[in-house]
Amino acid sequence: MFTLIGVELFKIFRKWRTYIGFAAVTVLVLLIQTAIYFAKDTYVSSMTRGLDQAFMFTGNLLNGYLIAHLILGILVVHVPFLVTLVAGDLLAGEATAGTYRILLTRPVSRLKVLTAKYLAGVIYANLLVLWLAALSLGFGFILFGTGELIVMKSYIIVFAQNDIIWRFAIAYAFAGLSMTMVATLAFFFSSLVENSIGPIISTMAIIIVFVIITSIKISIFESISPWLFTSYMNAWSLPFDDPIEVDKAVKSAVILLAHIIGLFGITAFIFKRKDILS
C-alpha cells in the first residue's frame, strides 16, 4: 500500500496543477502580511477602535500569532477550491487520459488503487494546510515578531505567549480535517465522471450552497444546518475560546470524520462496480 501511495504522490507532484494551490497560498499569505506590515498603525487603531477608551494596550499587539489567526480565518474559506483542483482530478483525470486501462489491469485490487489515490489526495490537502501554517506563522514571526494573541469575538480574550502554539496546532488539525472532507467530496464526484471540471464545480457548488444555508438564520435552514458538514468546518476557531468547548470540538470532529468515512465508503462501492469504458 505504501508503494501505491508513493506512486500516486509521485504522479500528483509531477503535475502543474498541484503547484497552483501552493503558489496561490504563498501569494495570498505574503500579500496579506505585506499589506498589513505597511499599514501597521492604521490596522492596529482600527482593530482597537472603541476599546482604547476603556483599555490600555501594551506590548507587541500586532504580532505573528495575530496575523496567522487572521489569515487562517480568511483562507480556510478559499483553500477548499485549491484542494478540489487536485482531488477532483484524481480519478476523473485517469479517465480523461485513458490511463484507467493500464492502471486497473494491474494485479492489484481496485479498492487498493482507490484507497492509495484517496490517501494521496488527503496527504496533498493536509500538506496545503501545513504550508499555510508554516508560511503564516513563519513569515508572521519574521515580519511582526511574537507576543500575546488577542482574539476578538463578542468578547476579548488575550492568550499568553506560552499558551498559543498548541491552540494553533489544534486549529490547523481542524482545518486539515475540513480540507480532508472537501477532498473526499471532490474524490467522490471524481469517481462518477470522466472529466475533472465536473468534480471541481460540483464540490464548490455544494460547499457554497451549504455555507449559505448554514449562515442564513431562518428556522427551516436552522433545522437543516446540523446535518451539513459545512456547519462543522469552522471548528478551527474553537481552540481560541476560553474555556474551550470540548464537547462541541469533539462533536465537530466526529461528524466530519463520519462524513469522510461514509462518503469514501460510497465512493468505494461505486468504483468497485464501475465499468471502465474510457
Binding site: T3, L4, G6, V7, F10, K11, R14, K15, A97, G98, T99, Y100, R101, I102, L103, L104, T105, R106, P107, V108, S109, V113, R273, D275, I276, L277
Partner: protein
C-alpha cells in the same frame, strides 16, 4: 500446468441498456496458441477484452483463465497476463521509462531497470527512454503499449489491435515480435484485429465475431481454405476462350474480363479442371494467378452473422 485451456469463455454476454454488445460468446484458447479474434469495428472485440481484463463486468456467462475463475482469482491471473486494451494511453507528463517503472511498482513486482530497458529495446524505444510520452507519435505509444504488456514477462499476452497507427514497417515488426514471442518464448497470444490478413499471417486459430456473436471459428488454415478464390486466366485467344466458356457451366463462375485476362470465382480444386478444359480446346494459357479474396470472405461472413 494443470489446465487444458488458457482462456475458457462460456456464454459471455454484456448488455449496455438495450444494446447487446456481446451475446453468448464462447471462446477457447489453448496453450501456445496465437489466437486471432476477428471482427469489424463495433463487433464487440474490445468489450470482450475489457471483460477478460476485469475492466467491465459481464452481464452473464463465465470466464476462466489459466483454469481458474477470473473474478475470485483476479490478482493471481492478471499477474500472468500482459495486455494492450484499445489505444495505448500513458501518463504523458512522464517519460517512457518512468511510465514503465511506476506500472511495475503498481503491479507489486520487482522490475529491474535492466528489464525496463530490455523491453524498450525490444520495441525500438530504448533511445527515447527518457522522452516524455506526450512527445511520442501514436505509433510510438503503440509500441510502448506493447512494452508495458511484456514488462513482467507474462504467460498470456492480449493485444487489442496492436498494429493500429503503425506504418508498414512497424506493422511487420509487431508481427515478427508476435511470432518471436509465440515460437521462441512459448507465449500464448490473443490477438484482436479487424484485418483478416494480419491474423492470417500470425495466428494458428481464429474466431470471427460480429454484433457480439460468433460467426465462425476454427483453425486459420482450414477456414481460409474454405474460402473461394479469385483466379485470373491469361489466354492468347480471348474470343475463343469466352465462346468455349459460354457453353459450359463455367459461365456461372465467370466474374469479369480485362483485356486478355478472364477472372473466375473458383474453389481450389476447380482451378486445374478449368485449366485442363481450356488447354484441350486449344487455348494457350500464359498464366494462372489465384488470389484469395480475404476481405470478401470476411465481409461475407460478417454480413451473414449480422443478419
Amino acid at each position: 500446468m494443470d489446465y487444458e485451456k488458457i482462456i475458457e469463455v462460456e456464454g459471455l454476454s454484456k448488455n449496455f441498456k438495450s444494446l447487446k454488445a456481446v451475446n453468448n460468446l464462447n471462446i477457447n484458447v489453448y496453450p501456445g496458441d496465437v489466437f486471432g479474434f476477428l471482427g469489424p469495428n463495433g463487433a464487440g472485440k474490445s468489450t470482450t477484452i475489457r471483460m477478460l481484463m476485469t475492466l467491465i463486468s459481464p452481464s452473464g456467462g463465465n470466464i476462466k483463465i489459466f483454469g481458474k475463475e477470473l473474478n475470485p482469482n483476479r490478482a493471481e491471473i492478471l499477474q500472468k497476463i500482459g495486455a494492450i486494451v484499445e489505444k495505448p494511453d500513458f501518463y504523458g507528463y512522464l517519460s517512457a521509462f518512468k511510465n514503465l517503472e511506476i506500472l511495475g511498482k503498481i503491479s507489486g513486482t520487482q522490475i529491474s531497470k535492466n528489464r525496463i530497458m530490455e523491453v524498450l529495446e525490444l520495441v525500438s524505444l530504448d533511445k527515447r527512454f527518457n522522452s516524455k510520452v506526450k512527445t511520442f507519435s501514436f505509433g510510438m505509444k503503440q509500441r510502448l503499449g506493447l512494452a508495458q504488456a511484456l514488462l513482467h514477462n507474462p504467460e498470456l499476452i492480449i493485444l487489442d489491435e496492436p498494429t493500429t497507427g503503425l506504418d508498414p514497417q512497424g506493422m511487420k515488426e509487431i508481427r515478427d515480435l508476435i511470432l518471436f514471442l509465440s515460437k521462441e518464448q512459448g507465449k500464448t497470444i490473443f490477438l484482436s484485429s479487424h484485418i483478416l490478413h494480419e491474423v492470417e499471417l500470425v495466428a494458428n486459430r481464429m474466431i470471427i465475431i460480429n454484433k457480439g456473436s460468433v460467426v465462425v471459428e476454427g483453425m486459420v488454415a482450414e477456414l481460409l481454405n474454405s474460402a473461394s478464390l479469385k483466379v485470373t486466366f491469361e489466354v492468347d485467344d480471348l474470343q475463343k476462350a469466352l465462346a468455349e466458356i459460354d457453353i459450359t457451366q463455367w459461365k456461372k463462375k465467370l466474374e469479369s474480363v480485362v483485356k486478355n485476362k478472364i477472372i473466375f470465382q473458383l474453389e481450389q480444386e476447380e482451378i486445374s479442371v478449368l485449366n485442363k478444359l481450356l488447354v484441350e480446346k486449344g487455348i494457350g494459357i500464359s498464366a494462372v494467378v489465384p488470389a484469395r479474396s480475404l476481405e470478401e470472405y470476411f465481409l461475407n461472413l460478417t454480413e451473414k452473422g449480422g443478419k
